[in-house]
């Protein structure tokens, strides 16, 4: 992307609150101009990490570097970061213009220039003419834009966003996601974005750190996270996934022969070290990679017979839940609502065949 690929760098960063470990020895780097997301359930340490980047909390161990400079001795008001707060934190006693101009006083900027930059920022977030409003005269989406403008007007090296879209309704949130991405591309500032919404993270980010219990499970691009998760936890958290237990019978020419509970003997591409003869592993497959058919297909794909237990209509696609002998949980199968697969009757209790291509199987280590 850019030459500066360790623009923000975390080395062994931990944060303890008493006996609680909120962030546990994190180390990764973020490139300049990235839209980087910290994704995880509540309590996973993502907000604590963001607050350490802003300077509101200091790390118990480790060091954070921004543009090469260590941050531990730099107080929040001298850091090259600005934050968009979860509830926006618009100053209620000031109007929008004064909110935007608030931080420029400390950058020693001339009065005329302040006025110009405020108007420019209002233009940027599509709120021209809103300068005299107060925060209680703004809608949720407008507040969000003001918070964004107030942070960006400072031209920070890194913009920190703490679930800024969480308080908006679904439609507005999707609109703001598109705008946020476009804005990030036009200003070129590094965004670090905290969210618990995996769809939001997938659609916005250049890279994502999936966090639980203070640890980063995987740091990768959205595509890699979805297609090549490194653990059951990540695979389960990102999108929907079917899991089957398996034992490795043999590994040959990058192909593993597996004995699975439910799918019988199958083969799958094996690239990881943990796939060794005799090892117990987990096989995962996405619902949309499974193919549903009334008769066994003749194209040589792996296949197993099952019974449709229930189905869910999701508008753009149908989800079928197919139980297979030997498997505890039914398999989720997603079928796009195009009519292509609807020539057969897919009623409840009907016996069907599930097929898959070997390449779509993901092998994961047992936790």
């Amino acid at each position: 992307m850019t030459s500066n690929n360790d623009f923000v760098s975390l080395t062994d960063v931990s944060k303890h609150f008493g006996s609680v470990v909120a962030v546990d020895h994190l180390s990764f780097t973020i490139s300049s101009g990235e839209f980087f997301s910290l994704l995880g359930p509540s309590g996973c340490g993502k907000t604590t990490l963001l607050r350490m980047l802003a300077g509101f909390e200091s790390p118990t161990t480790g060091e954070i570097y921004i543009d090469g400079a260590p941050m531990s001795e730099v107080p929040p008001h001298h850091r090259p970061t600005n934050m968009v707060f979860q509830n926006y934190a618009i100053f209620p006693h000031l109007n929008v213009r004064a909110n935007l101009a608030y931080g420029l006083r400390y950058d020693k900027i001339e009065k005329a220039e302040v006025g110009r930059r405020v108007e420019e920022a209002l233009e940027m977030v599509k709120l021209p003419g809103f300068g005299n409003r107060r925060s209680n005269e703004l809608s949720g989406g407008e507040r969000q834009r003001v918070a964004l403008a107030r942070a960006l007007i400072k031209r920070p090296k890194v913009l920190l966003l703490d679930e800024p879209l969480g308080a908006l309704d679904k439609k507005l949130r999707e609109e703001m996601q598109l705008e946020l991405r476009a804005l990030q591309e036009s200003v070129g500032i590094t965004f670090i974005f905290v969210t618990h919404d995996q769809e939001e993270a997938l659609s916005l980010s250049t890279r994502i750190a999936v966090m639980t219990r203070g640890k980063a499970l995987q740091v990768a691009s959205p595509k890699d996270l979805y297609n090549h998760p490194v653990s059951v936890e990540v695979a389960d958290f990102i999108g929907q996934m079917n899991f089957v237990e398996a034992q490795v019978m043999d590994v040959r020419n990058g192909e593993a022969v597996l004995d699975t509970t439910g799918l019988g003997k199958i083969t799958a591409p094996a690239s990881s070290d943990f796939v060794q003869k005799g090892a117990n592993i987990i096989v995962a497959i996405r619902p949309e990679k499974l193919i549903l058919s009334a008769e066994r297909r003749s194209d040589g794909l792996g296949a197993v017979q099952g019974t449709i237990k229930t189905s869910a209509y999701l508008g753009d696609r149908d989800h079928f839940y197919v139980s297979v002998d030997g498997c505890e949980k039914p398999f989720a199968v997603a079928i796009a609502e195009t009519g292509a697969n609807s020539d057969q009757s897919l009623d409840r209790q009907s016996i069907v065949w599930l097929s898959w291509a070997d390449e779509s199987l993901i092998l994961l280590p047992r936790d």
């Binding site: 802003a54 509101f56 107080p75 929040p76 008001h77 001298h78 970061t81 600005n82 934050m83 707060f85 979860q86 509830n87 934190a89 100053f91 209620p92 006693h93 608030y102 931080g103 006083r105 400390y106 950058d107 107060r134 209680n136 005269e137 107030r150 942070a151 400072k154």
Partner: protein
């Protein structure tokens, strides 16, 4: 079918109770202005006739004006000091992690429940032992002591009522902690500061026991009024003064409520 929601339906019995209660509260107070215009040196029915001579007498009563002046000075200074201390204390207990925070708050709040007569005696002993003369300064000190818990309680509520992220946002935008206090914290807690000042002012203005123990030769107004009660012919003048104080406090409360409402309406259109 009725147009009023069940929970909003009026009750005759409660109306009656409300009127009774208001009467219980205010009728005794209304005797004050009534007798202050009564043309009789004795406070008794039947009323003899209308006069304003007690007011004239009151205006010519120099010692009374001196006492009122003392009380206003003591009340203003003690309310200002107590509110400042309350502001710093409330900021400290709501914004920082302080070891032993609970016991500290308990000790600060203690004067609220200790009888003033005990504290008055204790302070009297302490101050005379230390060799200080009793004066309006000692009264002011004592009033600060009893006002701080009220200031703290008022301001802690205000501090807890506003989002701490606002202060963080200010620091994040480049303001130092001190600058943040002036530009964000103080404007947002200012209604609390005003409320605290008025509360402390009232506490000091009508406080009798401590002032009685600790005032030197300069009396505060409550002590002056108390001293006048020994002379029956002075009583109507005291009533006139009391009536004036009533009117002034009513006007002050009315204006502050009106200002508050005016601000609310101005800043929240459509709500």
């Amino acid at each position: 079918m009725t147009e009023v929601a069940y929970i909003d339906r009026p009750s005759r019995a409660l109306y009656f109770y409300a009127i009774l209660y208001l009467g219980f509260l205010y009728i005794p107070v209304l005797f004050l202005p009534m007798f202050s215009f009564n043309d009789n040196i004795y406070i008794a029915f039947p009323l003899k006739g209308f006069t304003t001579k007690w007011y004239v007498e009151m205006f010519n009563n120099q010692p009374m004006w001196a006492a009122l002046n003392n009380s206003l000075n003591v009340a203003c200074v003690s309310a200002a000091i107590a509110t400042l201390l309350g502001l710093l204390g409330a900021k400290a207990v709501t914004r920082y992690r302080i070891p032993g925070e609970k016991p500290i708050i308990f000790v600060i709040m203690l004067p609220m429940v200790v009888p003033y007569i005990i504290m008055g005696v204790a302070l009297l002993i302490l101050i005379t032992r230390l060799g200080f003369d009793l004066s309006l300064y000692t009264v002011t000190m004592a009033h600060v002591l009893i006002s701080v818990p009220f200031a703290m309680a008022t301001l802690i509520a205000r501090f807890e009522g506003f989002d701490q992220a606002l202060e963080e946002a200010s620091v994040d935008l480049g303001a130092s902690p001190l600058s943040t206090f002036w530009r964000v914290t103080l404007p947002l807690v200012f209604p609390g500061v005003l409320a605290s000042f008025l509360l402390c002012f009232t506490i000091s203005f009508d406080e009798f026991i401590m002032a009685y123990f600790l005032a030197g030769t300069d009396p505060t107004l409550p002590i002056f009024i108390w001293s006048q009660l020994r002379f029956p012919f002075r009583l109507p003048g005291v009533l006139a003064l009391g009536s004036l104080i009533l009117v002034v406090s009513f006007v002050v409360v009315f204006i502050s409520q009106w200002l508050r409402r005016y601000r609310v309406e101005k800043t929240q259109p459509g709500i």
